[in-house]
């Protein structure tokens, strides 16, 4: 299995008066090339679970592995490297740097790798053309529409060619037609051999034909897992 979580807990502010158990006893496996959709009400732990898988948070207890490597326990500098190599993260609110251009935003993940500016731009151009926002390359991020921002966010997530895409509510701020376009774009990544884990309220997303499994979360626990088709 590519991704495994065993008895993963995540507790914020442990021991304090505002302690929150965001995840409890999560056992989840995601096979290589699988597309899994996390569903659940607000506060059910979807974003936290994606953040654990995406190597942004470490769990409070339990084991999380990617490709056999125990990411839940890696020292920070190793975690940073593997996050950069393995994960493309698409955030709910895009998290683009508003004062930078689309090109600069997309090529940010390439900066620590020492790639020349010319090559970075070539790599970005290939993705921008594929995602049909090449004409916005030099626009400042704040000037883009929601759909264009989300495409730019997808391009940024893909620029390092990661094997795993993690998308947190990728269609949250988009209307029906745009949302479907974005999900189709993400589903194309599955055809390229990538593993996708995304979260969404939208039935159109969880019901997409390329989704292999829908995992329902409630109060930080997995309440059900339904395989599609």
């Amino acid at each position: 299995m590519l991704i495994t979580l065993e008895s993963v807990d995540k507790i914020y502010n442990s021991g304090a008066i505002n302690e929150v158990a965001a995840l409890r006893e999560i056992d989840l496996t995601v096979a290589e090339g699988e597309m899994v959709c996390l569903q659940g009400p607000s506060g059910s732990g979807k974003t936290t679970l994606l953040s654990v898988i995406g190597c942004i948070f470490s769990p409070t207890s339990g084991r999380a592995t990617i490709g056999g490597r125990r990411i839940s326990r890696l020292p920070d500098h190793f975690l940073t490297r593997y996050r950069r190599e393995l994960i493309g993260f698409i955030f709910q609110n895009y998290n683009m740097l508003g004062h930078l251009s689309v090109l600069e935003n997309i090529t940010l993940p390439l900066l620590p790798l020492g790639i020349s500016p010319g090559r970075r731009e070539k790599m970005a151009d290939a993705l921008l053309d594929k995602l049909a926002i090449g004409h916005r390359k030099h626009f400042i991020a704040d000037q883009l529409s929601g759909g264009e921002l989300q495409r730019a966010a997808i391009a940024r997530a893909l620029i390092n060619n990661p094997p795993i895409i993690v998308a947190d509510e990728p269609t949250a701020h988009l209307d029906g037609k745009l949302a479907l376009e974005i999900i189709d774009l993400l589903a194309e990544q599955k055809a390229d051999g990538r593993t996708l884990i995304l979260s969404s309220h939208d039935p159109a997303v969880s019901g997409h034909p390329r989704v292999d499994r829908v995992v329902a979360l409630r109060d930080g626990r997995i309440s059900s897992q339904v395989s599609a088709g």
């Binding site: 084991r63 326990r73 920070d76």
Partner: protein, 325 residues
């Protein structure tokens, strides 16, 4: 000491609870705690190492107000605590530096197999640091400007004759021939060690590495002796003036700084390369240890050559030109 003391609690918790295979909350919290503690300890030990220089400079400053003391030698001899404080601080360089090497290597492995060891080692270092600090406080607290102390001219007198004789009746020439011969052997032994890096660690290899480290320790002590008893006279251009501290002064072009820096760096790198070798057998450590040993041995050779060039310059100039350059 303050930073090390803060890490003592972590050290006890690591020794008691550390379980690298566990995924419990306590183990994950302990790992985060060790990260922070180790960073603080690293800074603390680095400051402790640098403070040797401050101690020597301070002692040189005291010498101006202590009766009979002409330099730091006299300042350290002003009470019974000075020389022990200095020696503990000098050897502390190696102990503290070795902890930092172990810590940096531990960080290069995902499994961090040296965590428990480095906190055990820290618990052994804490009493040493306490002794270091106590001796320093006793030394500084016991300084009395009106008590006569000895100067280096009395302490480090001729190789044969009156005063405190460092090497007995051994003639300087014989001593230097032996010294350069020893340095040459160590040089070639180091190059051979470089070629053997990466081989499986057997019992004989471990013994060989320990002997290698011991040889560097002997070289360090021997070099201190040679610099004080022989070379310094050429630096001062005065046969009766033998002092390990005055060569730090500006009037002698502060040549003591590069001399001691090259010597300490060479000895530390050589010793640590030998001592750390068995660690390669631990999970994830073969690559990092081999990389460190390669870099350390190369650096020790460069530093050794620079050290020998610098100290040889002065007697060479004297022999070539019959006097000071």
């Amino acid at each position: 000491m303050f930073l090390g003391g803060g890490a003592v609690r972590t050290a006890f918790r690591v020794i008691r609870y550390w379980d690298a295979g566990a995924d419990s909350t306590r183990q994950i919290q302990l790992e985060n705690e060790t990260w922070l503690s180790a960073v603080l300890v690293q800074y603390g030990l680095t400051i402790q190492m640098v403070s040797l220089l401050l101690l020597v400079l301070a002692a040189d400053g005291f010498s101006r107000i202590l009766v009979g003391a002409m330099c730091a030698t006299g300042a350290f001899l002003a009470n019974p605590y000075g020389i022990p404080a200095l020696l503990v601080r000098i050897f502390g360089l190696f102990f503290y530096g070795f902890w930092i090497v172990v810590h940096r290597l531990d960080l290069q492995s995902e499994q961090m197999p040296l965590t428990r060891f480095k906190f055990y080692y820290l618990l052994l270092l804490i009493p040493y640091i306490l002794a270091d600090t106590l001796l320093l406080l006793l030394y500084l607290g016991s300084l009395q400007p009106d008590i006569i102390t000895s100067c280096c001219g009395v302490v480090f007198s001729g190789l044969a004759g009156e005063g405190r004789n460092l090497v007995g009746p051994v003639p300087a020439l014989h001593l230097m021939v032996f010294y350069y011969g020893f340095a040459g052997l160590l040089f070639f032994a180091s190059r051979r060690q470089l070629q053997r890096i990466g081989r499986n660690i057997s019992r004989s290899e471990v013994l060989g590495n320990m002997c290698f480290a011991l040889a560097w320790l002997i070289f360090f002590l021997f070099s201190l002796l040679v610099v004080t008893a022989v070379i310094s006279s050429y630096i001062y251009a005065m046969p009766a003036h033998r002092c390990p501290f005055d060569i730090l002064l500006w009037e002698y072009y502060s040549v003591g700084y590069p001399i001691y820096f090259f010597l300490i760096a060479a000895a530390f790198c050589g010793m640590s390369a030998g001592v750390i070798a068995p660690v390669a057998a631990l999970p994830g450590m073969a690559g990092p240890v081999a990389g460190y040993r390669r870099a350390a041995i190369k650096l020790s050779l460069y530093m050794m050559v620079l050290f020998l060039l610098v100290i040889s310059w002065f007697p060479a100039v004297y022999l070539a030109f019959g006097g000071e350059w």
